[in-house]
Symmetry: D2
Subunit: 359 residues, 4 copies
């Protein structure tokens, strides 16, 4: 109920504050007998880690994961998988100035309102560091999905006003990982990179969107009423720090259309059912239809900027919040593995839930 | 797990197909001692009902709700509240033609893929008729929220390309309910109405957006990790039929901004904490900050159109799906009470969850 | 959270007070494609119904169930199954005397303490009438289990001091249903019947135990930590009105033994793993081992007696609670179908949960 | 769903195998602002630890708990509390002989049947070592309950045939903790100790019962239908390794009584409602009535004995399981803190759930 758990059958519970001893996660419900490679988990964490390039925060977080349970002789045992990641970079004094003041558009004030007592160091639980636990857990979800031929691929679609207008027919993981923005093409990556460098120089931050495509999902995954596949994807994306919006298929743009323009006609191609267009984003009535699942998550510009800002302290008095420390000019590149992680967790859960659909 | 339940402490479970004997809902967790007026429930159902105006489907659904339990001498008892709404307009023969063919962008195909056996009449469980159960349940949620001074107000913000560019400072329920579109101003309502009539004449449908503002929520509601207040709002909206997208606060537009433009500065006004702007949409770190909660849900054009369409049947053979029957040229006006209902259900749940935040 | 839901994947939510318009249940998660015979449901309700014989209460409850959803052309659709049973025997005046006084060992006082406002008529929600909803839902669970060869059989093992010392090797449903006590042998049934008639004449009530054996469960059902198969069976039984205790396998008696006497040795018989004895009651480490599952539920003597009793009213003043109305001298015979129902609901849930155990 | 989570609002998830790197637990939902003393947690673990006396196993498990999150400046923050306990005594070779053979009345066979792949070392997840996580979590639950004046006290009531016939009016924690059996009186402790020593010498094991009394619970805790207070207590106890039965109040013995003997008459004493007797064990209709809550859990003799036993291996061939290693002749003394822990977890959960009972 306190909301630190996600999923029904493939279920994760995360813990940890940015400046406590460690963060981590328990995965409960990963089926037994899954071959798992811990180096894949470590590689996924590396994709999310700060300090990968000049475009993201220069904080150093080695993010070494230790698997404490649930894995035996290289395979899952069906029992809870526990993963712990130590916090090695806890410079508490860097954050002491925020103990009594509320940073604009951060969670300092709302945590105080909710709990009365909070770990103010580096945002504590509200820090995006919590998402490392999700990425770690998702390494198992991705491995499970791979056994069903399902692949999740995210990329930075837009930075500020610089947009990739059309998604490539095939998203290349190699291309995406070989540019520091994680854009889908080399050309747009360069434009985005230039823009992020400008913003960084100004001590400012910039937002944008992450696109994601999931291939290989068979028709039939998802639940029809409240737990529609896209509703869970939406919740999962919106639960990521700084996410302000979600759309799937034709999304907001599609709502400008007429029904006759928007409907996806069914056809049979080589004995397989498909739709001629995919404005439904691979989901109809909340259930996958076998087409690629496509959605988009909107990320606001990060609230931490290198400029002084007006605010108040815990007593309600005006204060100036100073712009200092290390910051992320643009979270988009690091958001890609997190978006993928949440999508994988959603789909792994529905993969298992689907097993109870029929007698 | 089968996804027909929403909420944790204020929890509803809906049932029913459009052409079975009845639809309905159980509310479990509504606190005892709440004074409830059944005529309010009936009035809310009337707002959602088809046939209210020429702008929406002319199907007749009287939607008379019977409360079977949980209410005694005008007040809730803390035990489950069960509500049943009989289906009185079941013309099964109208729908027999879809038993073996898949309507484009409907759930016919995906239900078959998931379950193997489905009630094909009128969409069965996938029909928007299911949302009447949600509206009925939300009458209790709204009544509970009112005891805390919380009010939920939705309106049609956009129809196709016709947009209300700026939200009024105060949304007038009277204005909204007095025009058939449920627009926020009389002027935009007329433009929208004209557009819907055009589309209707063409046997087509049109999409748009519903805006919603929730006032009176104190700072502190919501949970910080997966169950962020906006993540649950997003899931709730996306679980409504035809919803393709969700955003809160500055939403997708805000992602074009710089952090220095986007941050909401705190200030103290008459001893009360508030923010100078509200790009955060009343939510920071997943928790309400005491400002109005503002969000937007995108609705695609309804898939049922009065035009013939190409499709396939259950054997994969090409068929023509005929455009006939009664249809909704634009769901937006009827979506308003449903959006409000889901928002009220989310907030009632967080109101109760908040009670466990502190010792 | 308000506790009116049982099960994870095969999940039921019950509603209704004894003297409101109706009681009923929603089953969410019953797989699609299950052939179901509504007359079986009605027959199961008849087994629980009052007025079957002179041994149980003479109240008349026709208990006609209406299935409102989830069943189409004789098979389940995978969508929620809703069942409503009207209350036809609501003589509210019979119960008016308890509006302000607390019957000994009933829930009148605790409901008032919890909720502040309660439906006092006939016990309201605390009435055993609620169990009719469980029996109705379990008709689907039993049908699902039958597809896996699983059969649940309960019987009255003891009434007061009259005990069936050894369980028959094969329990005969025919024998059990052909005597009004639902005992496992005709001989013990007669002794029990005589005892119940004596107690009834004295305006008193008597307790005892129900035994239950589940056959056909394969090895592997159940979960290892908190949701052990016997822990869920225990919760399920203890959730039945008047149940004061639960044991499985050797139970309390087994705790007098030494480990060397108690252990069940494994053996292979005709290629099938089994144990020579079954002190484990078919469950080891919380998971079924393929042997018959055997357990026992203890039912206290019903609190409603035909004798005057000392008590207090809502203001704390002493009152005499009069012994009047119709009552059950012994709930055991009617408890049998309820015990079976809860066992079937537990096992149907684990049957589905088991589907996620392995990759 | 995989059952490693207990509780709704005060919710714990445990992980870990006996011979993996560590075991542990996440507590989600502990309210913020609770002052917590980590030395109390350590003291509780010491009560459960092996090697405390000659009566229990001589294995050495230092059981040092590390709190990784959720506690800041001595108080809980409302965020997840994570506790890790390293396994320091992992002698894997001791257990290699059970990799391919099934110990009688252990979970080896059922785990294999369920998962196909298991950590066979020392029972892995099925080892009672998992309960250390529960005891650690319950230190927080007990601290929370103490703020409401609620105290949980367990004791060994019976070992084999040696029973404490009447519970003392006041249970003395000092007396209980000062004898190695954790009996309620010094006299019975000596008899029990002698019996356990005899059994130990014979390389055998012995069962018995743990009694538990909870004082200070106000009237109104618990939920009326499936989640009755005693149903959750029952599930919680039965989820402990080796627990074969549960009863509350008069329990199985009470089912031999007549209703006129069994009912608890209400009275008002010094303005406070109470009952003259307490056969209801402090719970009526599933809800606490303000009297002490009293229950009993039955523990079978431990399956690990120092004698050779017949069994089979994974291929179904007959084998002799040798009696060697270190073992617990009687788990009862160590079961006391575990019984208390589970009771505290149940009650802390209901304490929070109760907050939503009324408007």
């Amino acid at each position: 109920m306190a909301g630190n758990t996600y999923g029904q059958l493939f279920r994760i519970t995360t813990f940890g504050e940015s400046h406590g001893p460690a963060i981590g996660v328990i995965i409960d419900g990963c089926p037994a007998g899954l071959e798992f490679d811990p180096t894949f988990l470590q590689a996924e964490l590396a994709r999310r880690r700060p300090g990968q390039s000049a475009l993201v925060t220069q904080r150093k977080e080695p993010d070494t994961a230790e698997i404490l349970s649930g894995l035996f002789e290289g395979k899952t045992t069906g029992t809870p998988i526990s993963i712990v990641i130590r916090n090695t970079n806890q410079k508490s004094k860097d954050y002491s100035h925020i103990a009594t003041q509320y940073r604009p558009s951060h969670a300092d004030y709302t945590y105080d309102a909710k709990y009365g007592h909070r770990d103010y160091r580096g945002g504590g639980r509200s820090s995006a560091r919590e998402t490392a636990s999700r990425v770690a857990a998702a390494a198992f979800a991705k491995t499970l999905l791979a056994t069903a031929g399902v692949h999740v691929q995210g990329f930075v679609e837009r930075v500020g006003d610089i947009t990739l207008s059309t998604w490539p027919k095939e998203l290349s993981a190699e291309t995406i990982e070989s540019n520091p923005v994680r854009a889908a093409t080399k050309e747009i990556a360069e434009l985005m990179e230039t823009r992020i460098r400008e913003v960084r120089k100004a001590g400012d931050t910039i937002g944008g969107t992450v696109g994601c495509r999931v291939t290989g999902v068979p028709a039939g995954w998802g639940e029809p009423a409240f737990d529609k596949l896209h509703a869970e994807l939406g919740k999962a994306m919106l639960s990521i720090n700084a996410c302000q919006g979600f759309e799937y298929g034709s999304g907001f743009a599609g709502t400008h259309m007429l029904g006759s323009e928007h409907n996806d006609a069914f056809e049979t191609v080589e004995g397989k059912v498909r739709t001629k267009t995919n404005k439904s984003g691979g989901i109809q009535g909340g259930i996958s239809n076998g087409m690629p699942i496509e959605f988009r998550a909107a990320f606001k510009p990060v609230a931490t900027i290198m400029q002084d800002q007006d605010s108040i302290d815990a007593d309600g008095n005006p204060v100036t919040v100073e712009g200092k420390g290390r910051h992320d000019p643009c979270v988009l590149p690091r958001a890609v593995p997190i978006v993928e992680a949440m999508a994988a967790l959603v789909l792994a859960d529905f993969m298992l839930r689907h097993r109870s659909s029929k007698v």
